[in-house]
């Protein structure tokens, strides 16, 4: 399985002085690192620190502008990825490179088999063999769309392991899709791989994972290596944090203690709700949900457990198949978004770039879509009035919104998130439904947004917060609900439960 030449060199791959620039931006500057056989090398860094650029150079997606990569005692070029793969480098992507409409077997055949044939029987045997060896249970005949994210990840890993000659495996933020219990078995699998001599590159921003398994750590900050250490020298969590964040002063998010004696009025209520998905299948059955004035309700669940459908139903984008939905005591029917907006509901969707950004339109024009109430000028729109209103708005200022004249499709992810959030906040919503507000953002922006949400709740907005980050949910929520097995479980009080319990419910539903 592992290349015989490994014995003759102390490393599988060695990178020296890797530099990559995009225009005036230097994404990676003189990166140095080694991947040794039978060891785990973690690349730690914040969003935007340059991890993904580095990883793409090592997987051959980008050609480095400077520097060299050594394998088997000679410099190699890994670009394009086919060449990297031929050299034995495999990659487990964060956004899995799988095709939902095809079976697991077909997906594996695509990348593993050669020629025009698929030797179904032998391939199936090999899949079963590898998956039992490393504890990667996955059904070869299932369609990928039927799998949850954990299973899809296992499929990706099997694919990499079955590819001939694999000796280095790059994992890109692998635990971001896993619940706490799954993380544990994932780390066990990494250990098995290490024992079999694979060289592993683990890209992550989670320090406790690094502490749990890494043999070596390279910390990236602003595209440079800010720190490197190995387990023999001793790994130190605090040193890693400061290497990761630098001297950035981070104000911790403060949440005032809830005043439990006060009974707040209910603003939104769903009774016996049932929601169907895009293909008419039941996604959530017979659930109850209640949100009160100024309350943050956190929604936990394995990705694809009905989060999107629930959010859409509460904003009127999707009809309830049965049950009732009332806002401020008034029943609302799905399908009429405007009625929901007029009742004070705002929605920040999970993929703002795809679902909210209109290419070629400026921030100002986006604001009119549903933010600032349109002021009419004859049959047209009074743009000057809207601009001054935007520039004077508290919400836009506190989120440091970019200039109103900039084109939205040229903004960074953080700026798009800010724009979408300001737009939702400018309407001063009574109820805010917000999906994954911190996904893909650096820690500074994340903290700003979290603080804003808390302030918003203090001023009386009820917030339904979808997040895949249990830390975030526990930090912000007044109560938690869990989506699992077509049911909505809870509410639970964060003070009376813990992450392991919530994680177990995410995995196994009520029985846990």
């Amino acid at each position: 399985m592992v290349h015989p030449d490994v014995e003759s060199y102390p490393y599988l791959l060695k990178a020296q002085g890797l530099t990559k620039r995009f225009g005036s931006l230097t994404a990676n500057q003189s990166i140095q690192l080694e991947v040794k056989p039978g060891s785990i090398h973690a690349i730690l860094g914040e969003n935007g620190a340059g991890k993904s650029t580095l990883m793409k150079m090592l997987y051959g997606v980008y050609e480095p502008d400077e520097g060299e990569i050594w394998m088997d005692g000679e410099t190699v070029s890994l670009h394009p990825p086919t060449r990297a793969r031929a050299k034995g480098i495999g990659m487990v992507f964060q956004d899995f490179r799988v095709i939902p409409a095809m079976t697991v077997l077909d997906n594996i055949a695509l990348s593993v088999e050669k020629g025009w044939r698929i030797r179904r029987k032998s391939l199936r045997n090999r899949i079963v063999e590898v998956s039992s060896k490393y504890g990667l249970a996955v059904d070869p005949d299932a369609f990928v769309w039927q799998l949850d994210l954990g299973q899809r990840q296992r499929l990706e890993i099997v694919k990499v392991l079955l590819a001939p000659g694999t000796r280095i495996i790059i994992f890109d933020e692998p635990t971001s899709v896993l619940v706490p219990q799954e993380v544990e078995s994932f780390l066990q699998m990494l250990d098995l791989l290490r024992r079999d001599g694979y060289g592993i590159l683990l890209i992550t921003h989670k320090i406790n994972e690094v502490l749990a398994c890494a043999d070596q750590v390279t910390v990236l900050r602003s595209g440079r290596v800010s720190h490197q250490m190995s387990r023999e020298e001793g790994l130190d969590g605090d040193a890693l944090i400061s290497a990761m964040l630098g001297d950035k002063a981070l104000k911790p998010v403060l949440k005032p203690a809830p005043n439990s004696s006060e009974v707040r009025p209910e603003v939104l209520r769903v009774e016996n709700g049932t929601i169907r998905g895009d293909h008419g299948e039941e996604v959530l059955a017979d659930f109850q949900l209640s949100m009160r004035h100024g309350e943050i309700v956190g929604v936990a669940g394995i990705s694809g457990s009905g989060q999107r459908e629930l959010a859409e139903a509460l904003f009127g984008l999707r009809k309830l198949a049965s049950g009732t939905l009332t806002v401020h005591g008034k029943p609302l029917r799905g399908g009429d978004v405007r009625a929901f907006m007029e009742a004070g509901v705002s929605f920040v969707s999970e993929d703002p770039i795809k679902e909210s950004v209109i290419p070629g339109f400026t921030i100002l024009e986006h604001m009119v879509l549903d933010g600032i109430p349109v002021r009419n000028k004859g049959v047209g729109i009074d743009w000057r009035h809207i601009r001054s209103e935007l520039e004077n708005s508290e919400e836009a200022k506190s989120l440091a919104l970019a200039d109103a004249g900039r084109r939205a499709d040229q903004l960074s992810g953080g700026n798009v998130q800010r724009m979408v959030l300001s737009r939702a906040l400018i309407r001063k919503p009574d109820i805010l439904i917000i999906s994954y507000p911190s996904r893909g953002l650096d820690i500074g922006t994340t903290l700003t947004i979290q603080q804003r949400l808390i302030e918003l709740a203090e001023r009386g907005t009820a917030i339904l917060l979808f997040s895949e980050d249990l830390d975030e949910l526990f930090k912000l929520s007044d109560k938690l609900v869990v989506l699992a097995g077509k049911r909505l479980l809870g509410p639970y009080l964060p003070s009376e439960t813990d992450k392991a319990q919530i994680g177990a419910r995410m995995l196994k539903g009520e029985s846990a």
């Binding site: 929605f347 209109i358 499709d409």
Partner: protein, 354 residues
């Protein structure tokens, strides 16, 4: 001739007045010239001198008033069916139903003229006939719209299929109850009353339908560029998810945009009858819907640029007739030239951003 300039990003919301873009001018020139070169080579095979042909094209267009009138006459229905494609395109729809909508519009207009408006004075009869044409086109557009909104069927495919149905519907009527009793078995309708014919400019065959088309193009441009309705349509066309999340009723917008497009093409049908032919034939306006679609594509679905591209297609159409008379090549050769122009434009475009 006013050559349209190009805004770089394909379907972006930009719909301001003409914006010039000098940098890729050479490339644009190449894109526009190449089809004429290719077609020229093709002509050489048939012993036609392309330079002479192109020369006579320009000559017959700008040489005298009559020639110019002919080109504008040809361009008129292209403007209207072009609008029928451009307006939905701004909402993100690919409507090719102009062909069928024009036919049904012509059918309604003729029907109303023959059965109802015979004795009406011009000031009343012509507007009613125009409305009848618009209604016919709108109904046909509504069919596509209903299939889109209620049946969730892609409008491109349904509109092409319905074009065939519309053609046979017209054939059914002109072979049946709309047939001229004095026609000796020829399938055409009786001639409409002279009071219902559109006034004509002296010295040409050009009629006021041309003015109607230009006014409608300006109206469509104004609505799209300057009004809230237009803003919403453009938002929908650029990102339907965003439009939904902004509380817009997407299906209702799709529906009425397609109906309005149908009405525009229906008006083209009425103008064909009232302005030129005077009676309905199975061949009335055949292919005009497709030409209009092409003109809209060439104009990036910009209603004002569409005036220019329709004019160009009008020139090519007239040249097709010249070809047929002058060198015995069939009029379909003009179709080839049009197809080539469009292919080069489509291929020469910058890749739209995802």
């Amino acid at each position: 001739m006013k050559q349209p300039t190009f805004v770089p990003v394909g379907v972006s919301g930009g719909i301001g007045p003409f914006r010039s873009n000098w940098k890729p001018l050479f490339k644009q020139l190449l894109v526009w010239l190449s089809p004429f070169v290719v077609f020229g080579v093709f002509l050489l095979f048939y012993h036609v001198n392309p330079l002479r042909l192109y020369g006579s094209m320009v000559q017959s267009t700008f040489g005298d008033l009559y020639g110019l009138g002919e080109v504008l006459l040809k361009a008129t229905p292209f403007i209207l069916t072009g609008l029928a494609a451009a307006l939905p395109a701004k909402a993100g729809l690919v409507n090719v139903g102009g062909e069928g909508q024009l036919a049904i519009g012509a059918l309604f207009a003729t029907g109303s003229a023959v059965f109802l408006l015979e004795r009406f004075p011009a000031w009343l009869g012509i507007p009613i006939m125009l409305l009848a044409g618009a209604l016919g086109g709108a109904l046909w557009g509504m069919l596509i719209a209903a299939l889109k909104v209620k049946g969730r069927l892609n409008e491109t495919i349904t509109s092409v299929l319905l074009n065939y149905v519309a053609g046979y519907t017209v054939a059914f009527f002109v072979h049946g109850i709309l047939k001229d009793p004095e026609s000796f078995n020829w399938p055409y309708s009786p001639e409409i009353a002279w009071t219902l014919r559109l006034p004509i400019f002296d010295g040409t065959r050009l009629h006021v339908g041309f003015i109607i088309a230009i006014v409608l193009a300006i109206v469509v441009w104004y609505v799209l560029a300057k009004t809230r309705l237009g803003f919403r349509i453009r938002v929908l066309g650029s990102n339907r998810h965003a439009a939904e999340r902004a509380g817009m009723n997407v299906n209702r917008t799709y529906f009425w945009v397609l109906v309005a497009a149908g009405a525009l093409a229906g008006i083209a049908g009425m103008i064909e009858i009232s302005g030129i032919e005077g009676r309905l034939r199975p061949t009335t306006g055949v292919n005009y819907g497709y030409f209009g679609f092409l003109a809209a594509m060439l104009a990036w679905n910009h209603p004002l640029k569409l005036l220019g591209t329709s004019f160009l297609l009008g020139m090519i159409s007239v040249a097709g007739n010249t070809l047929e008379i002058g060198s015995g090549l069939p009029a379909s050769s003009a179709t080839i030239l049009m197809g080539l122009v469009l292919l080069f434009i489509l291929g020469g475009r910058r890749r739209a951003k995802r």
